[in-house]
Symmetry: C2
Subunit: 146 residues, 2 copies
């Protein structure tokens, strides 16, 4: 049974399109304008901080993050991957895994900074077109992350 | 021997005040205006992405991140801790561990967003005054993170 907190948006809803559901975590595709290669690993239990987890669960969690990062790298060839667990707005442990490209609207600044340019729509579409193959691969690898 | 890349600022310099030096990583205190509780775990070898590391090194790295997070929580009582490995500017693996407070200049936005207010200098000083005790404790725990 998972531990839920009333009123927490990540306890009450998936928070995005579910790509893979494990016992203790799920991977969702986030809908973030201009950033098609944006996934989140969401911990199922309501915990605020990474270090609230025991070491074995931290390892499970980061193994999932690493598998998502590897799939993003293999299929999207990003300039860089950004990983972050912030949770200031929604204090329920979730890891952002974001494919960054030198043509995206914020690069090299973080996605949370002000826009520096408009990203070319054709580039965004090309990344989006690679997601089904990425996710097919991801599902296989997440089922056996070892 | 560590793997270095010519011209990389985190290969050529510590990148901040060194709090602890391990064989494969170091912890530095970052000097970031308005954010006194800002540490980084910097991987010694020049690797760009978290998933460039083998699983055993990812575990070592995240164990250090968790110990820093725990010390930050215990000594500073932050509203939230933010963790991030971005590296768009300096593609050498480093984890930001940032104590966030509801009074800081960006909260609840990420530190990379635009300022929303001026942080009270007395609050910043109070956090800074807690760092020596935090770091004394941190050094003990990083020497034996298990």
């Amino acid at each position: 049974m998972t531990v839920k907190a009333p009123g927490c948006s990540l306890c009450e809803a998936p928070g995005g399109r579910v790509v893979f559901q494990a016992a203790k975590w799920r991977v969702i595709h986030a809908r973030e304008d201009g950033f098609p290669g944006f996934y989140r690993v969401v911990w199922e239990d309501h915990v605020a901080e990474f270090s609230d987890l025991p070491a074995s669960d931290r390892a499970l969690c980061m193994a999932a993050v690493a598998v998502v990062e590897q799939a993003v790298r293999a299929h999207l060839g990003p300039t860089k991957v950004n990983l972050a667990a912030l949770g200031n707005m929604v204090p329920h442990l979730h890891w952002h895994v974001i494919a960054r490209f030198d043509w995206d609207s914020r690069f090299p600044a973080p996605v949370w900074a002000a826009a520096q340019r408009e990203a070319p729509p054709a580039r965004i579409s090309a990344v989006a077109a690679s997601l089904p193959a990425l996710e097919q691969d991801l599902i296989v690898k997440l089922a056996d992350p070892a």
